[in-house]
Assembly symmetry: C2
Homo-oligomer: 400 residues x 2
């Protein structure tokens, strides 16, 4: 397989979003990522949404470009096979990524007895090992109570903490592998989903605002905080998002709509300096009062004609169907997409990683494996298990 990480092998024992996304990110950069599941699959094998034949589109989407191995992980023999795959020799092997409770045979101390320079990335809910998932981390983050118009929490639908965690895992794995290559030592790398949330909230200045100003960001609907931006309804019932971060973008709005002179009056009206982000935030209701009728009297197509190429920062709201059917970026014209043949699903447009490398190129989009599709091949290649021996393991229900 081509790709910038094509000589790297990672074993993944995972479920759900974060750890599978971490592994898939590396697989989509060319790494050989072997996902080991118990016979019949892990707890996420049937997660919604499903294809008509029952195949999980969720699982298929989060395990693309991987190899799938099924072992009887509840038996000593299955555990021994998994351990042999995880601890197989080779300077580019010996890396485990997991979000399962890593105790017993799968603990770092147990595994590192079989390979001293093992790198093991372990994602937990909380740092103390107690359970937490994206939903229960999100409610603690402050964001649902700052979303919408207040009164009740509004959960975002994107599993943002899982996504950040998956990408931290990919970063942490490459950092640890870089160091092993230079100094020879492996190690256990730990990440708690709640720490991903806490670090992110802190990185964005929210914790500092509470500590320094005793300020708790209130819900502002779809208004940007500290700058100008909001949604507007169009004449044909669509919505668009409009924002201005720079002064250039702000002036472009006035020019493209022909409302520059009236917008400028919003400054003295609200005693705000509209040449600053903060001033535009302070005057946002006056600004929106001028802009609203302009958008409300035009269709999305008319708005697009007026704003595209004008330097205005804007975009239409799209539901998932409109994203697929109307957005040219979400099409085969975009090199991150290609048509794949997904087992159980059929021909669909699917993606590779969004990173492009000018020399090493981009690994083309690849399907997810069928569950257990690679068990025999992986055991043959890495553990040199013959097809005769494999048949015996299969008869004993140790592999599938």
């Amino acid at each position: 397989m081509p790709g910038i990480l094509s000589d790297l092998r990672i074993v993944e024992v995972s479920a759900f979003i974060a750890a599978p996304l971490g592994g898939m990110t590396l697989a989509q950069l060319g790494a050989e990522v072997i996902r080991i599941d118990p016979l019949g699959g892990n707890i996420d094998i049937g997660r919604w949404p499903l294809a008509p034949d029952g195949t999980s589109l969720y699982w298929a989407s989060l395990n693309k470009a991987k190899r799938s191995v099924c072992l009887a992980l509840n038996t000593p023999q299955g555990q021994e096979l998994a351990r042999a795959l995880i601890c197989a020799p080779g300077e580019n092997a010996g890396t485990l990524l997991t979000n399962l409770p890593a105790s017993g045979w799968m603990s770092f101390s147990a595994l590192s007895q079989h390979r001293a320079d093992l790198i093991m990335l372990r994602l937990t809910g909380n740092a103390d090992g107690s359970g937490a998932v994206d939903y229960t981390v999100n409610c603690a983050s402050g964001f649902p109570l700052a979303t919408g118009h207040g009164g009740a929490p509004v959960n975002h639908v994107l599993p943002a903490w899982d996504i950040a965690a998956g990408l931290y895992l990919a970063t942490g794995l490459l950092a640890a592998e870089r160091t092993r290559r230079r100094s020879g030592h492996g190690q256990e790398v730990t990440l708690a989903l709640s720490d991903v949330m806490l670090a992110t909230v802190a990185n964005l200045g929210y914790l500092a605002d509470v500590q320094v100003n005793n300020a708790v960001r209130p819900p502002l609907g779809n208004d940007l905080y500290g700058a100008f931006g909001r949604d507007f309804r169009t004449a044909d019932g669509r919505h668009i998002m409009l924002a201005a971060i720079s002064n250039r973008q702000w002036r472009a709005i006035g020019k493209a709509t022909g409302l520059a002179a009236r917008l400028a009056l919003g400054g003295p009206l609200m005693e705000a300096d509209l040449d600053t982000e903060g001033g535009r935030f302070a005057a946002r209701h006056a600004i929106c009062a001028v802009l609203e009728p302009w958008f409300a009297s035009r269709t999305l197509a008319e708005i697009r004609t007026a704003l595209d190429g004008s330097g205005v920062l804007w975009g239409p709201y799209q539901d998932f169907g409109q994203l697929v059917h109307e957005d040219p970026r979400c099409s085969l014209k975009n090199p991150i997409f290609a048509t794949i043949d997904q087992p159980g699903v059929g021909q669909i447009m699917a993606n590779t990683a969004p990173l492009g490398f000018s020399v090493d190129g981009r690994v083309p989009p690849q399907a997810a494996p069928r569950l257990g599709e690679d068990t025999e091949a992986v055991l043959s290649e890495i553990l040199l298990i013959s097809s005769l021996e494999y048949g015996r393991l299969r008869d004993q229900k140790l592999v599938a």
Copy 2:
């Protein structure tokens, strides 16, 4: 500086969230990250929220653990100094991270003439170089129209696409540096914010659901899709999030609330199999009707007593103030936090990266620099510019 990346140097020319977060993530793993800004700072230097003295808490939070260099980037001499820092020799140097328009002297083709194995990571809005920011990518993603209860888009407040992009940049940089170390070649690594969004929407199965089932996920309020989970109001006006992914977590809810027998009736009532995630989703209104009074008649403290340690997956909603004041994970007991002395701000609790390394440890939280704080030291260390020469550059207003 300790840390797993302590021998790596990265030059960052950036603004806002994604690229600064990418650089900070590496800095918080020990890399020497030199952020170069124009004199007076880049466009994000004054972004809200602000400390009482006008220092941007946003900037300070997103540039921790970096070094700050200010150069007159609008002059040939300032550009030459920047180029010399970017292209300085050393196998661990020669890496540029930017989200600014990389044209002219800062293009990959121009810079790589000064260092053939340069690694340059370049974040753009859209892949064609046209502008897009988190807000205008988000509106296209499908999520705002699937958030809340429908009728109008609801933007999430977390800049989730910027965060994912920053972490993809960190991953891409380490992948490219790994390859340079092995094969000697540098390259340009490109990432578009809209591709981060598209890849993520695809990774989560939303694009497949549209293509295969022609299904567009509708807004479900705070209900989980395809499983059981929702918010509940407490007797003291707080809200909690409750979820059950596994059967074990589902049974724990019945046991901890004493409502197992009544909850079980929801299965036949709704003709749903409550031992499956999909069955619990189908029966969620009946389930919630049973649970609502239980939560509504208890305070958060009483709920905590009943649920903690019970195996139930839950958590309280917290605003940013409650997160700081009530959540023990958001305190100095958590090793990702420490008290730092932030210039212009004072003593505050701030964070390092959430990744922990069992051998290489964790870089303690560090403050962001004052703007230009390290200009003289960096020019002296890397370009061997004497203090006499530095004084001359300062008098010419080429550095600050």
